[in-house]
């Protein structure tokens, strides 16, 4: 099934011009148009750990730096580590620690078994004992955290520069008030662009060449350069290397802070969280996908998959294609909705028509943007989305379809009808319909390969499919009376095979 769907034989053009199989497309019920992952707006919906399935509120996830507190990844192979338990015999401790049911009197020599845990990788056999992390009494949370050597220095630097910039800002405001001419300290270093030396610096805001009337905000000791650098160890020239002790580049980069060079310094890494994503149509700001909050649920609160709304076109078979001869192809068309659909097969828009449609889309969009940018009252959050520039479909047609001479109806999906085998004989079908059952119809169309094709060239053909769509979800009463049928167009591209001779 997956193979059959993932092979790109039949693709639909999204409104934005990107081609995708129907299974990868969404259908915005409000704009009545196809949308794809490329032109939808993605949002982080909820954070969870893919190992322990704990749901973590986003504010907390932020505090935890998007890591799970309890789950770890193997620093050696990046698989998930599991906690293994061992029992050890420990002498009964004196008073304080025990707490179990103990015999106070004869405590001194008595041994008790105690459960201890270590982390082990089931994939590569790495264990936390390999790097000298002592076993822990509890399975969760108690693992020692790795210190980052440079944290303190970084903190100092960060605070220092924050203060510098603030101080500069004040100075600049002062200076603007006084409007005196500031001279640059190093006038000789100008570059071709006509920027003065300090201009980049000033533009970026780090300009401190103004007279230092005020003391520096914080004092930080600048780094001191040294001529003493670490030499190669002498043994490197004589001692054979044991590759097993040296980390790979992948292992180093998986611990970006420390990038350990030897396996001794590998350290269990808190597992990175995963997210559920929701997708939003950028034209109307409605969700097309919104997953359920619960991490173990695979359901959605909103799911507007195109395959539930738009008729599916499946390629059944084709006669061999020969240069200059028309060949027939058989397509199956399936109506996924619970309303009958009338389908019309039409020509794809020509290049000019496509360009015009894109222009049209751009115009409506520009209008909405200019309105939004003009009205200063619009709070920034209410701005309309910048819309991805629509583009031409990147697909060259090499076979032309002979259009059928009439429209046809595809019956509604009726799950119960699957089981009765009454054949509908009452419908007078046009000749190109060769088979029909329940909500499926097979049609036979002729394809004429374009001139100039060679053997083994792909035939790519396509059509605009117009279908009637009943928007059953719109429950606003006034609309209901008008009948909710819309005639919608989608562009379908099919690759039925190659020129055989």
């Amino acid at each position: 099934m997956d193979f059959f769907l993932s092979k790109k034989i039949v693709e639909y053009a999204c409104l934005c011009g990107v081609l995708s199989p129907l299974t990868k497309l969404y259908f915005c019920r409000h704009c009545l148009n196809l949308r794809c992952a490329f032109c939808c707006h993605h949002e982080v919906d909820s954070h969870f750990c893919s190992n322990c399935l704990e749901n973590i509120p986003s504010s907390e996830a932020k505090l935890r730096k998007n890591k799970c507190n309890t789950c770890f990844d193997c620093p050696s192979c990046q698989a998930t580590l599991s906690a293994r338990a061992t029992s050890i015999q420990v002498p009964m401790s004196t008073k304080g620690e025990g707490g179990d049911e103990t015999d106070e009197g004869s405590a001194s020599n008595k041994m008790v078994t105690k459960k201890m845990y270590y982390l082990a990788c089931l994939a590569c056999r790495w264990t936390s004992r390999d790097v000298g992390i002592s076993d822990q009494t509890s399975q969760t949370c108690s693992w020692p955290e790795q210190e980052y050597f440079h944290s303190t220095r970084f903190q100092l630097l960060s605070e220092h520069f924050q203060a510098v910039v603030l101080c500069d800002k004040e100075e600049k405001q002062d200076y603007l008030r006084r409007k005196t001419v500031k001279t640059s300290k190093f006038p000789s270093m100008t570059d071709r662009t006509g920027l003065t030396v300090a201009s980049i610096r000033r533009q970026i805001g780090f300009d401190k060449s103004a007279p230092k009337a005020k003391p520096k905000p914080t004092n930080i000791t600048p780094s001191i350069a040294t001529s003493e650098v670490e030499d190669l160890p002498d043994e490197i020239f004589t001692k054979p290397v044991n590759l097993k002790n040296i980390t790979t580049i992948k292992q180093r980069l998986a611990q970006p802070a420390n990038q350990p060079e030897t396996v001794k310094h590998l350290y269990p890494q808190h597992k990175n969280l995963s997210i559920k994503r929701s997708l939003r149509c950028r034209h109307c700001e409605h969700n097309v996908i919104k997953p359920e909050y619960n991490p173990s649920s695979i359901k959605y609160r909103i799911q507007l998959f195109a395959s539930n709304h738009v008729p599916e076109v499946r390629f059944v078979k084709a006669d061999p294609f020969k240069i200059g001869e028309s060949a027939s192809i058989i397509l199956k068309i399936i109506n996924p909705t619970i309303n009958d659909m009338t389908i019309t097969i039409m020509d794809l828009p020509t290049e000019d028509e496509e360009k015009m449609a894109i222009e049209e889309m751009r115009k409506t969009f520009d209008k909405s943007v200019s309105i939004a940018t003009k009205s200063s009252l619009t709070p920034s959050i209410m701005r309309p989305s910048l819309i991805e520039d629509p583009r031409m479909v990147d697909c060259k047609i090499t076979g032309k379809i002979e259009l059928p001479d009439s429209s046809f109806v595809v019956n509604q999906r009726d799950d119960s009808a699957e089981f009765d085998d009454d054949i509908q004989g009452d419908r007078q079908d046009p000749r190109f319909i060769i088979w029909r059952k329940a909500n499926k119809v097979e049609i036979k169309l002729n394809v004429i390969p374009c001139d100039g094709l060679k053997k083994d060239d792909d035939i790519i053909t396509g059509f605009t499919m117009q279908f009637t769509y009943s928007n059953v979800h719109t429950s606003t009463p006034e609309k209901e009376s008008q009948g909710l049928r819309h005639a919608l167009n989608v562009r379908v591209y099919i690759n039925p095979g190659k020129i055989s001779e």
Binding site: K185, S188, I249
Partner: protein, 370 residues
Amino acid sequence: MPIFETVFQEKPAIVLEIGSVYTKIGFCGEAHPRFIISTEIRSISDILKKSYISLYDQTAAFFTKIFFKYLLASPKDRKVSIVESVLTPTVIRECIAKVLFYHFEVSSVLFLPTHLVATATLAVENAVVVDLGFKETIVIPVYSGVQVLSAWQAQPLGSEAVHDKIKAELILNGVKEEILTDAVIEDIKVRTCFVTKQSRALSFKSKEEIQPCPDLEYPVDGNDVIKVPGQLREVAFEVLFPKDNDRLGLPYIILDAILNCPVDTRKVLAENILLIGGTASALGMTARLKAELTKLIESDYYKNRLFIQEVKFHSAPSKPNFTAWLGGSIYSSTELITSSSFTVTRENYLKNSKIPDWVNYESAFVRTQG
């Protein structure tokens, strides 16, 4: 609820440094990047030949991964800082801005120049910043907190050259080319090769008989074993120190950059060298550079021009491959994220989709000295 969050609780800016092989990603105000991942926008010049749309789509796909798989942060209405080399072609910078504003609807983008922000990690005002990256090494002096753009030097001396050397040698030794994938070559370099001492390098070059470091068997998936000769382990990095008359090796471009600066700044600059970029992590790199530079400043050519007695190196509070990112994190945690005139806000971008340009590539190139 979302309104409260966006208005009253400022979300930390996202800081990205997109290298040609590794991308460093994280949030401002943090001491190290959250992730270092491989850059999935491959060979930008190739893509550009194909089409702008393709570059745009790849960038969008890569950023989607960064935001939703790694950082887990909705980019909408966020501030984003991009740390990048001043030599990055404008078309790429524009593409990044367009993707961020159109596709992700960020609220502002701040472009920060690699070399300048790297000095913030030291809290110094003067330094020669040497970025030893994958494709190339770029040297730009920073004096008094300003990049001396006219003095820049760049050469295709980076890890890529080293990888090519390792690959070529191993193929010469009869190793099958199919098993020498980029990942295997990189791993061989990282785990087994080092920058040897100057004296030994000279011996190797003059074909003297010296005992190289031990050979090594490197197992690869399946049952293959690659034999890595000791000599290759030692000389792989020598491509960065070519013996030539064109003065193109690493030490030359560093000194030439200093030479391009005004006389009175040169001593200070030579005594404040900062090596950044992953290639600087190679074992022995700093020591070797020091030896080479020390020797070179005594040579006739530089002695009478530079008047430097000594070179000194800084070490940043970071691993070299994310020093520039760290500078970006520091910059972005200040007010500059909103007030710098290099900040492009969404409103401004909408009005005149322009982004500021550091400097015109050509003009900086033609310039020799101030």
